[in-house]
Symmetry: C2
């Protein structure tokens, strides 16, 4: 009875996907709500996933010559206003500080929603000559956007992210960095999180406020909705002109430099939940699982069982596997359900009979598959199993995405697909924002991206029938 | 000529200590000022020191069963006001957010100056039974205090820190954790930063707003001024009562739990500068030096020199030594001065003659001492040298502190010492805040701590002549 309680409390995915998501977030102990509306507590299990994401992403950044910095969290209003498109995009959703202690401020300041304007202010001191370029900076921080509707990890008033900001002597170098970082995000999602992504460019309607071009990676969740999982922007010299940043080039001429920015956030945790989770709870890719293995002793009160469990733990820990023994006084069945809810990739069961036979039982979280393994071989076997799990998780997510990706040559087909289901629909587009607006109004569907891998599905725009320019991925999005 | 320029621009410590400090902060590229008054940019060299501090401190936290979490950066006014002493201490220096986007907020919220109230709000959901205790949490974040006078690392409106927050079933357990974390800070300062500290308790006048007792580690800077380098607070059940947090204990009775908090911040970077720096610039302890070794090739245009420099770099990097080759087109002398300014613990010089002899020159930043070393032995030698450097840096800082620590039995002696110099003065105290106030008014000197290691210097209070209760360390402080 008790064993199933934890599981029974989860709504099934089929029944109510949104409720299933909320249930996992709560039952897997990732998040707590607070009395600060729209802001969340990252509990230890949730924050530890973020720490592992940070660690691996930061390692990749450093290998790509990125230097970490930290800029202030406040932006004076006059600074935010310098780039016209940027302020229009962000001013409606920033939090304004008007008082410092008991005194009203002379100029109000906002909590950063993103830091382009602060970096420009910084570059002005830093960049004078071609010798000062490029600068390839990043910061890990929190930002604030005053959202009306919020959901854990996906949309909250404060969220954690990294924002990279770079400045270059030429447009080409900036463009190269923009694509390099997009590729880094895509590789990270696929190799670390086991989530397949579509790489492409945003349409002008969907691009970042102030950007010349925005590139994106788009993932597809279990319910067929898209999740933008990382973006990379090329600003051209727009910000440099707005902030009057100039440098003396090799030819001794004063020029405007070119900038980029790129960001990924705690949304990635939402992506993990919705790309891999099932009706028993969270399913974590081994690379970002705070505990990769849980050892559940069976008949733990019998002599030697706990000792053996701890010996196995120590052998795994020596391989830098993150492992714990669940030696609480709960029943094994309860412990199994709890470990499944928390998404721990591998469970090891060990009881008196197993010990006698020199074996243990290994259970995979992603498939439920059980196998026996000699106790001595556990470290090798589990290490290899992590790779298999990652690959299988990726393959399943990929197969599911492919099965939810459709093509539509004409409007009728397009409308029919979106009236019946969600997913990616590949369809041609004329390039006109009017068609995007119409599709959004009629179907609540947006252009997700113009994929780098172009195909020709039809000659004409799926909306207006005029000649098509590009293949676009369309979808409903988080 | 050019070689010395960088050094000549630093004010000497003797001449103007405050200007020397500011010069180092700028010339070692740690900090930049911004158009946001009282807020700083952490440049790559400054932020990398903080990352190394974080990494090692976090490793020690995790070994002490601390779990990382992340709570919102905002506190609603009604929440801040719940604990009376706490709000009195912090309300005058918080930044108030009054608008979200275009709308005024129904209740204004402040940017966290510290997060006790948020953690209490969180505990209320988390803590119901003795089984839920203890909780041992920490978060790495930035906080805001609207200071009037600011100085890089030492006092700024926004600063980076960690704040630990714990909750326990008994007062004794809370007290034990308070002292455990103070000891962790002290060990960290001494073992990692090579800075000796005095451990003790703050007087009631100097304790944290809302705390029952505050413990501190106090370090002495080069100019004889004290720097509070980490604090740990026992709140008793004061916050639990104010926030009505209760749990059912083993005896089935409802009880108030006991709380602690403890913090260390980017001030520690200021401590490193002022405890170890000299007139040639920063001197970094090897454990937190972003680059631990710089290799300076001499006659680098000669064939084979750069190749050998890179080979040495690779051999050191294989030992996880953080190393770079300075292969810029600056002169060797300029490179030496620059590496000294940035505090890089070890410099390796390698030229054609050295290569022929199979040797390189090693120069210590802390002492300037030069020695020769066979190229093959560089990794072993340098690894061992780091330990020697750390120990020597500690010993020198300790000897300097001891030479600047005085004892005063009576008021006259006490006044004379502080009129002539700065430093720690050990003197007896009656326990009355009036004496503290008087000493502060007359000499701008505060009680730094009541040290754990008590001595009896006199029978009477250094200020009023009444019977003494405790030995106190007094000093001028940052």
């Amino acid at each position: 009875m008790q064993d199933k309680k934890m599981v029974e409390q989860i709504t099934s995915m089929e029944e109510d996907f949104a409720q299933w998501y909320t249930d996992i977030v709560k039952k897997a102990d990732l998040i707590d709500y607070t009395s600060v509306k729209g802001c969340m507590v990252f509990k230890p299990a949730g924050y530890a996933i973020w720490e592992l994401i940070q660690k691996e992403m930061d390692r990749r950044f450093k290998a790509a010559s990125v230097e970490n910095v930290y800029l202030p969290m406040f932006i004076p209003e006059s600074l935010l206003e310098k780039e016209k498109d940027h302020v229009e995009g962000f001013a409606p959703e920033v939090a304004w500080v008007t008082h410092g202690g008991l005194q009203p401020l002379q100029e109000r300041i906002c909590v950063r929603p993103t830091s382009e304007t602060l970096f420009c202010d910084f570059y002005k001191n830093e960049v004078h000559s071609y010798r000062d370029l490029p600068k390839v900076y990043n910061q890990w921080c929190s930002v604030v956007r005053w959202e009306k509707e919020t959901r854990p990890f996906l949309r909250s008033r404060e969220f954690l992210w990294q924002e990279g900001h770079t400045i270059h002597a030429t447009f080409e170098e900036a463009e190269e960095r923009t694509i390099q970082m997009l590729n880094l995000y895509a590789d990270f999602c696929e190799e670390v999180l086991a989530i397949p992504v579509i790489k492409g460019r945003k349409t002008d309607k969907e691009k970042f406020a102030g950007a010349e071009s925005t590139y994106t990676i788009e993932a597809l969740m279990h319910d067929g909705k898209a999740l933008q999982s990382g973006t990379s922007h090329n600003f051209g010299d727009g910000f440099a002109r707005a902030f009057d940043i100039q440098f003396t080039d090799k030819d001794n001429k004063l020029k405007y430099p070119f900038q980029t920015s790129w960001g990924a956030s705690t949304r990635l945790i939402g992506a993990i939940i919705m790309a891999h989770g099932d009706d028993r709870g969270l399913v974590l890719p081994p690379a970002v699982a705070p505990h990769q293995v849980v050892i559940v002793p069976v008949r733990q009160q019998q002599e030697g069982v706990l000792d053996k469990a701890f010996a196995i733990r120590d052998a795994l820990a020596r391989r830098d596997i993150r492992v714990r023994v669940d030696d609480t006084d709960k029943s094994p069945g309860w412990k199994f359900a709890e470990a499944e809810m928390r998404g721990i990739p591998v469970r090891v069961e060990i009881g008196p009979k197993d010990i006698e036979a020199g074996k243990a039982v290994i259970v995979r979280r992603d498939t439920g598959e059980k196998s026996e393994c000699a106790i001595d071989e556990l470290p090798d076997t589990i290490e290899k199993l992590f790779d298999v799990i990652r690959k299988d998780m990726y393959d399943r997510a990929r197969a599911r995405r492919d099965s939810q990706t459709y093509t539509a040559a004409g409007k009728e087909e397009f409308n029919r697909i979106f009236s019946e289901k969600s997913g990616f629909v590949k369809a041609m587009w004329c390039g006109d924002v009017e068609c995007e607006n119409k599709i959004k109004d009629e179907l609540a569907v947006t252009s997700r991206c113009i994929p780098f891998e172009q195909e020709k599905i039809a000659d004409t725009c799926v909306c207006c029938g005029r000649p098509a320019k590009k293949l676009v991925y369309w979808g409903r999005a988080y």
